[in-house]
Symmetry: C2
Amino acid sequence: MADQTAGLRRTQLGDIAPIQNLPLRMQIAERLRTAIISGRLQPGAVLVETALAEQMNVSRAPIREAIQILENDGLVETIAYKGKRVKPLSAREVEETYGLREIFEVSAAQRILDRNVSVAPLWECCEAMEKAVHDDNYEALVAADEAFHRTLIQLSDHELLLSLWNNLYMRIHQIMALRNRGERNLAEIAGNHPPIVKALESGDREIATQLIARHTRALAEFDPASIAEFPE
Amino acid sequence: MADQTAGLRRTQLGDIAPIQNLPLRMQIAERLRTAIISGRLQPGAVLVETALAEQMNVSRAPIREAIQILENDGLVETIAYKGKRVKPLSAREVEETYGLREIFEVSAAQRILDRNVSVAPLWECCEAMEKAVHDDNYEALVAADEAFHRTLIQLSDHELLLSLWNNLYMRIHQIMALRNRGERNLAEIAGNHPPIVKALESGDREIATQLIARHTRALAEFDPASIAEFPE
DNA sequence: ACGCTGCATACTGTCGACAACTAACAATCA
DNA sequence: TGATTGTTAGTTGTCGACAGTATGCAGCGT
């Protein structure tokens, strides 16, 4: 039941694709989420249900439910009877987002140390990272970096923490997409990883904590002017 | 436009009240949320949209949206095309919930120490607590306890953390309601608070962290058998 | 007895139309 | 002029009906 007129219609976000048998709200939510975290839909952008419904050739109900989901993700904000928009990102929120990341990573490290978990998977991530640096493959580098941090959280063996992490990382993706390409020093920042793993391996709590905190703060550096403010 | 037939109808969750001008979905979400965290709707309970709609005399749309909101809160779980139910609480989830609480409180304490924030508000909470103990007022005791912990988070001056905390505490309320009255030692546990504040005041990082961790773990004690498991 | 097929049922998912609300602007009157 | 009140346009909120999906059971064939 593919939509045969898809190619003819002016389409900003594209038609919904009948790829899977998931409910429409999920396909729509996924599509909107991608648009937001990629920066295509910028903070402050207004989401009008009727317009989206028409663009995607669905009724308003699944659109509304999809937007609800995104609201849960913290990507969209609703003002009753007035409208919905992509949540504005204040400098403070960006800062707090990275602050939370630091909290999560440091806490995960504590748990790893408390439980004597093997850090072998982290070494693997470091190797993947080195390879990406050697190949000068930026895509792979970003992926490997994310894998390293996610692995750190996973090793802490705390599912709730992991799900919070996934949500947080989504917003970090959005922030990174909105920045004017901070890729320059990513490779250099990647060099921080092995010492962290080494500290974890040798059970050095203090050092590990400090290294992670410093690493996270390095990642948080950004040009505040590059994130537009949408007050009101 | 109050519903004049409200008194006649059999009603399990009660009719929705036209108290405020909030959208129905919010009133319904609030009502369901209360029912869940109070334990009236137990984990595993199935939520049937049509039934709820009939009970509350509204259409299914706001019911669906309300359930979405509760899903975001982590209180309800949806299985596409099958149904929705109050999220089952495994022993592991309960444990992780308190683990997260520990992470949040310890991290908040670190931030308070990092920034030399005045802990005066915490002393006030301690006083309210003592008064409740002296009056043998259990309600006030619970409220004061919650106020203490929320204040700790608030002093860390991190809005994202605070909102995560509010969500977490909601689920802790639910867990407490499902336990067979663990009130016995609450007064005694309350005695842990002043030492924590003292440690924070004197900037003793190590002690503060340990006291908070121990306090949180004391709160987490529970009879695993008192929380039903709903596998499948 | 066993497995398959095809209803029947009880839900959730989706739709299109209508109601309610807000904000902005025009018209009215002191 | 300036404040107040209609009025209208644009949006979200709500509804009732219909379509789609999963599950259990009856009936059939082997």
